[in-house]
C-alpha cells in the first residue's frame, strides 16, 4: 500500500526542504540576534511573525497592493512594534535572570495572540496571489515558495551584509561578543538593543508576509514558528548567526525527508530526537555558539 521512494521523489522533497529551510533560517536569524545581543529568548517571536502576516493580508486585500510589495512595509511596521516592545517592556529584563525574560516574552506572546483574536477574529484568511507550480523536469516548484525562497535568501544576505559591513552592524556584533567591552568602546548599548529587537521583529514580519501567500493565516499560526526558530538556532549554535542559516536548511531537509521515508507524524519526532542527539554530542550546536 505504501509508495516506493524513487530518486525523483527524493529530489522533490529535497527541493521542498531547501525552499522552506530558507524561510526557517531567515525567521530564526531574528531570534538568534536577540539571543546573541540581549541574552533573551524571545517567545513572542512567532506572534510577531503572525502580526507581519496580518499586515500583509490587510495591505494586499484592503488596499490592493501586490503582496510581495508589502513585505518591506510589514517589516517597517513590525520594526516599530519591536522597538516599542523593547522600550516599554523588554529592556527591563535584559540583565534579569533568564526566567524573567522567558516569563515576560511568554506574556507578551499570549497578549499578542489574544489581541489578534479580538481584532481579526480566529477565521482563516488567505492571500490568493501566486498559486500553482512551475514544472521543471520531474519536479514541481511551488511558485509562492520559490519566491519566498528568493526573498528569504536576499533578506538574509542583506542582514549579514549589514552585520558584517556597516558600523551599526559591527556595533551589534561587538555588543553580542561582550556588552561591557562594547560599552567601554563607546557603543550606546541601549540603542543597540533597540535596533536589534526592531530588526529581529522585522525579520519575523518578513517571514509572516511571505508565509501569508503560501498558507492560510490565523492568530495562532505564530507559536509553531517560535519552536521551529528555537530548534534552528540550537541546531546551528545559539548566538552564532551563520549557524542559523545552516540550522534552517537542515531543519527543512530533515522534516521533508523524514516525512517521505516515514510519516508526517514521525518527522517532528525525528527533528527533536536529532536536537537531543546534537546537544549530547555538541552542546554548543553544529557551528558552536557565540563565535561572531
Amino acid at each position: 500500500m505504501n509508495v516506493v521512494v524513487t530518486p525523483a521523489m527524493l529530489g522533490q522533497v529535497v527541493i521542498s526542504g531547501i525552499l522552506s529551510g530558507a524561510l526557517y533560517a531567515m525567521v530564526a536569524l531574528g531570534l538568534a540576534l536577540i539571543f546573541g545581543v540581549m541574552r533573551i529568548i524571545n517567545v513572542a517571536h512567532g506572534p510577531l511573525l503572525m502580526l507581519g502576516a496580518y499586515a500583509t493580508y490587510f495591505l494586499s486585500t484592503a488596499l490592493g497592493i501586490n503582496p510581495y510589495l508589502t513585505v518591506p512595509v510589514s517589516m517597517a511596521m513590525l520594526f516599530v512594534v519591536g522597538v516599542l516592545l523593547e522600550r516599554t517592556l523588554v529592556f527591563r529584563v535584559v540583565d534579569a535572570p533568564e526566567l524573567s525574560s522567558l516569563l515576560l516574552t511568554f506574556g507578551v506572546s499570549i497578549a499578542l495572540v489574544n489581541l489578534a483574536q479580538l481584532l481579526f477574529t480566529s477565521d482563516l484568511r488567505s492571500v490568493e496571489y501566486l498559486t500553482g507550480a512551475w514544472e521543471v523536469g520531474p519536479f514541481a516548484l511551488s511558485k509562492s515558495r520559490v519566491v519566498a525562497f528568493v526573498f528569504a535568501g536576499a533578506l538574509t544576505g542583506l542582514a549579514f551584509l549589514f552585520l558584517g559591513r556597516t558600523k551599526l552592524g559591527k556595533a551589534i556584533r561587538a555588543t553580542s561578543q561582550s556588552r561591557e567591552v562594547a560599552m567601554v568602546c563607546g557603543i550606546d548599548v541601549q540603542r543597540i538593543h533597540l535596533v536589534t529587537f526592531g530588526l529581529a521583529a522585522a525579520l519575523a514580519a518578513a517571514g509572516g508576509a511571505l508565509i501569508a501567500v503560501i498558507v492560510a493565516i490565523q492568530p495562532e499560526m505564530g507559536q509553531i514558528w517560535t519552536f521551529k526558530s528555537f530548534l534552528v538556532i540550537v541546531l546551528g549554535g545559539a548566538g552564532n548567526y551563520p549557524g542559523a542559516l545552516l540550522g534552517g536548511i537542515l531543519l527543512g531537509l530533515i522534516e521533508q525527508v523524514a516525512s517521505l521515508f516515514l510519516t508526517t507524524q514521525l518527522s517532528e519526532v525525528v527533528a527533536y530526537v536529532l536536537l537531543v542527539a546534537i546537544l549530547l554530542v555538541r552542546p554548543t550546536g553544529l557551528l558552536g555558539g557565540r563565535q561572531t
Binding site: V3, T131, Q265
Partner: protein
Amino acid sequence: MTTKALAALITAIGVLAGGLPAAAQGPIRIGASLSLTGTYAKLGNYQNEGYKLCAKQANEHGGLLGRKIEFVVYDDQSAPSTAVRLYEKLITEDKVDAVIGPYSSPVTEASANVTEKYKKVMVTPLAATTSIFKRPPDKKRYYLFMVISPAEAYLEGLVDMAAKRGLKTIAIVNEDTLFAKAAGDGAAELANKRGMQVVFREGYPKGNQDFSAILTKIRAANPEVLAASTYFDDAIAITRQMKELNVNPKMYGITVGGDLPEFYDLLKQNAEYITGATQWETTLPYPGNREFSDAYKKEFGREPVYHSAAGYAGCVIYLEAVKRAGTLDSDKVRDVLLKLEMKTAFGDFKVDQDGFQTAHKMVTTQWQDGKKVIVWPDELANGKLRFPTPPWNQR
C-alpha cells in the same frame, strides 16, 4: 370481604389516576446537558435552538400525551465530566420525566453511562462515533439512539461516484484523530468493497500545515481519486499544496469543511470541482424541511445549520416514539424506537438493534461556479457531478 372491597377500590382509583387526563399533571420535563459555553459553544447553541423550536411547535399542537413539554437545560461548558454530573442531577434531583442527548461524541460517550444506569431512553442527535453504539455484548447500551450518520459514511458519496465512473485507484489521507480516522477507515472499506485499490493511506498530525512530503508520495502513487478526511484548516492547506505540487486526481473529495461557505471564500476558483460531505442542507427535499428552516429563521433570526436540524429531529423523533408508545416508560419507548421508521426535516431515521443509525443519508456536495451543488445521492441531488476534474492549470 370489606378489606377485599377496599383493596379493589384502591386499585380502581390507582388505575383511574394513572389514566386521568394529563393536563392535570403539569408539564413533561425533558432534561438535557448542552455545551452552551466552552469549545463547542457555537454548535451546542444551535442544537439547543433545535430543541427549543421542537418543544414550541409540539406545545402549539397540543403537547405530548395531553401534557405540555418543558425543557430543563444545563450548561456543561463542553466538558464530558460536567455533563455526567448534570445528567445525574437531572435524573436524581430534578426527577425529570425524560432525557435527551448532549452535544458531541465525547460528551455523549460519558453521559451515556449515567442514563444507562437509570435505564433512561436517550436519543442522541449529535453523536457520530460508531463505538458509542457498537459495543461488546457485556457492555451493550440498551437505551441509546443515534440520529446522524456515522463518521464512516462521510466519504461514501465520493467512493460511490468514483466506482460508478469506473475509477480503480484511490489514495486516502486523514488527520490522525478519532473522527477523521474513522471516516478514512470507512472510505478504505467502501473502496475495497467496490473493487477499488487503495494505493496510498497515511495519517498526519492535528494542526499540520505542510503536506509537501505526503503529496509527493501521492503524486508518485498517481491515484485516480484522492479522499481526504479533514477538518477545515487542513483541507485548505492540502488543496493549496496540491496545486503547488501539481497533484491532479480525477476526483478529489474532503469531509468536514468542504461544505462551508468560507471554504470557497478562501480558495476561490481553486475550490471548484472539490466535493465535500454534510449531514444536512437547507435545500434538501425532506418533508417539512422548508417549513423547519422558515420557522427557525423566524424564531432565532439566523439560518439553521445541521446541528440545529439534527437537534430538532432528535426531539421530534423522541416525541413521536412516546406518542406511539402512549407512555414515557423507558422499555416501551425503546421498543417503539427500535422499530420506528420515520422521515423528518433532517432525513430518514431507522436504527438497528444497537440503536445505531442505518437510514440517514450523508449528502455529497460539489463546488460549481461558486455554488454548492448537491451531487449525491441521486435521489437528493440538485445537480450533476462535474467530472473529471481538469488539471490545475486548466481550471
